[in-house]
Symmetry: C2
Subunit: 163 residues, 2 copies
């Protein structure tokens, strides 16, 4: 399921891989629909207070994460590649319309592939240098992305989504 | 010929527009073929000493510009959108495989459209803030991009390219 253009460098990148027992169609929908994203995309007790999706290359996902003590953190990520049920590539180095952003951090690749009745799932964080990778790891990449993936699977299994 | 996702902001962006009397097919080829790019893409007496093109989203154009006194300046720009004979979008905020770059500067949009026997041509430099736009303008955006466009048209008219 790897895109040939994306080369993972263990010294620079972070990877989360897991087999999950929900179908790729619902994983895709969970990732690309604002009303679903806000239910699982922040590790509880953090929350998503606002979310919008303009699902096309150069369009953006905007979302606001709220900490348990009420601080709000707005985020923007520009979509680069959109391959339904397979791969989503987005980056916070760009804003809407490919405008360079003030605080570039990483490119995210979310890959999924049918596997039995469920899916193989992989999230890759691509960084520009080893220091940024380390910072992201220390911020809790594996815990954070692992927790929200579990939340997504639970949310799908709870039957909140129609295919 | 404007992409609906790209919003030009006069306070942040720079635009060069010109009608040229060469066909879009050859403009496209001049922009996407290393052996042609090296002949026109640096304003003489600057030169391109090395150039490679991996023409796919996430692929890059690598090139080295050499100053008249022999200093070499390597550049990498990642392709984002490739619409033959219409639009090329690339950014130096990303390297190969969408990896964030160390020195993000701008996103370039090159647009062309058939116009009589020639073409309308537009180059847009999209910046993250007004200071970067100003820096790019002071570096000579209009002269530089205008000069190389003239060089490209002259190169095409000289018959160096086959359609």
């Amino acid at each position: 399921m790897t895109s040939p253009v994306i080369k993972i460098d263990p010294a620079l990148d972070l990877v989360l891989e897991r087999e999950i027992d929900v179908p790729v169609e619902l994983v895709w929908k969970a990732w690309t629909t604002p009303e679903h994203l806000r239910e699982w995309f922040a590790p509880k007790p953090w929350a998503i207070t606002d979310c919008s999706v303009d699902l096309r290359p150069g369009g953006v996902m905007n979302f606001v994460m709220r900490s348990p003590d009420g601080q709000e953190f707005p985020n923007t990520s520009c979509y680069l590649e959109i391959t339904p049920f397979e791969r989503l590539v987005m980056t916070d180095t760009l804003q809407a319309g490919y405008r360079p952003s003030a605080n570039p951090f990483f490119t995210a690749v979310v890959e999924m592939a049918r596997h039995g009745s469920g899916a193989r799932y992989r999230a890759i964080a691509i960084h520009g240098d080893a220091a940024t990778r380390q910072k992201h790891e220390e911020m809790g990449f594996h815990d954070g992305w692992g927790t929200v993936l579990t939340q997504m699977v639970d949310y799908i299994k709870a039957g909140h989504m129609q295919r």
